[in-house]
């Protein structure tokens, strides 16, 4: 009885560890795909919710009505993104992003969530510049 309960708890722990390892090593559970990978998978991805990661190409960010469009690049492939869910306040050209949504038949990525990927570099602002603090937007 007591041993049984300990066995259950241990099984849960072991299960959690296996799950983590499976997430890390299993190819389907990669956190985001690059534009090249999405292009290579092509139509098999249509209709599947995926994450796309890369850099926002400078000069490509445009606002069209409620949508924001931009191009995400991994330095090999460029992929157009149409985002309908708004962007965080730190979103800007040249920044790393992870976008969530669907790869469309039109060859564009239709996103509803944009996550800004911050680099591991931290620097003080240039002399005389007051950085506009990042603030919570939306819910």
């Amino acid at each position: 009885m007591k041993k049984g309960r300990i066995a259950i708890v241990l099984a849960v722990i072991a299960g959690a560890l296996i799950w983590v390892l499976a997430r890390g090593l299993g190819g389907n559970l990669v956190y985001y795909k690059t534009p090249t990978e999405i292009l290579r998978s092509g139509q098999t991805l249509v209709g599947q919710r995926v994450r796309l990661g890369g850099l926002v190409l400078p000069g490509t960010v445009q606002t069209k009505g409620r949508d924001i469009t931009f191009v995400v690049s991994d330095e090999t492939t460029r992929m157009s993104v149409v985002d309908s869910g708004g962007v965080p306040s730190l979103f800007r050209a040249g920044q790393g992003v992870v976008v969530e949504g669907y790869y469309g038949r039109d060859g564009a990525f239709h996103a509803d969530t944009v996550l800004v990927k911050h680099s591991d570099n931290y620097t003080p602002p240039a002399p005389g510049v007051t950085p506009t603090s990042a603030h919570v937007t939306g819910g």
């Binding site: 849960v12 959690a16 890390g24 800004v116 931290y122």
Partner: protein, 259 residues
């Protein structure tokens, strides 16, 4: 040991504890002053960046706690001395508190910078698993069993569970993630010198805080064990035939279930 001697022992123990507590408080205040006023804001993130001065030290404290759980568990299995089991228990409690704090602080930092409160990236997922594993560890410790058995089972889990700590730490280098890599752990830290200094002071302060909290929890653990053994044994004394002399406290092996 006479009662007076025991009282003296307890008083000296508490003096060291007080010194640790004062040092930890001074360190935390120094971290707050450095983090909030002395260091500059980040060029990109502005003042939100300052949460790093508690987020990173919290994570460090949790790693340290779980390493001590691991080491104390090995020591218990090697020596079978209950004090190692008490140390593992105390350290795990502090670790769970601070890994939970790390998750909450990280989430508060993520919303204004990444744009979301939570995402299932490898770093966040493995950290959540780490939290759950050690909550499980504390749950196992509360199962009714003999102290020796409980200590043995806990030690086994305390050793195996530590596997997740390096996985958490290296997740950002092994796999693609939302979470950034450590900025401080480079030959030339990827942050301004004053920021790196503030972060190091934070790490030192939280290390002192860990030592204080574990010392405090160990004393409470010893008192708990003594209270239980004293509550269980003296009732038998007035009866006629003395089967065996009353156990000298602390005799934790005599203890059965704990509340």
């Amino acid at each position: 040991m006479s009662t007076a001697e025991r009282m003296m022992g307890r008083l000296t123990a508490r003096r060291g504890e007080k010194v640790l507590g004062l040092l930890a408080a001074a360190g935390v205040i120094a971290t707050a002053v450095l983090g909030l006023w002395v260091t500059p804001p980040d060029a990109d993130e502005g003042n939100v960046f300052r949460i790093i001065y508690v987020h990173v030290p919290s994570a460090w404290l949790a790693y340290l706690s779980f390493f001590i759980v691991f080491a104390a568990s090995v020591a218990y299995l090697a020596t079978k001395r209950i004090r190692w089991d008490r140390l593992a228990a105390a350290s795990a409690e502090v670790g769970v508190l601070f890994i939970g704090l790390t998750l909450v602080l990280g989430s508060i930092w993520a919303k204004p910078t990444w744009g979301i409160w939570w995402t299932w990236d490898p770093r966040l997922t493995t950290t959540a698993v780490l939290f759950l594993i050690y909550v499980g560890y504390l749950a196992v410790r509360r199962l009714p069993d003999s102290p020796a058995k409980r200590a043995r089972w806990s030690a086994a889990i305390g050793i195996v569970a530590f596997v997740d700590v390096p996985i958490v730490h290296l997740s950002v280098t092994w796999w693609r993630s939302q979470h950034q890599a450590p900025a401080l752990l480079h030959v030339a830290p990827r942050m301004a010198a004053s920021m790196a200094a503030g972060l190091l002071v934070g790490v030192a302060a939280f290390t002192l805080l860990y030592a204080y909290l574990v010392t405090f929890r160990l004393r409470v653990g010893r008192l708990e064990d003594r209270a239980i053994s004293e509550a269980l044994s003296p009732r038998l004394e007035p009866r006629s035939a003395p089967v065996e002399p009353p156990p000298t406290p602390p005799a934790p092996k005599e203890v059965s279930a704990r509340g």
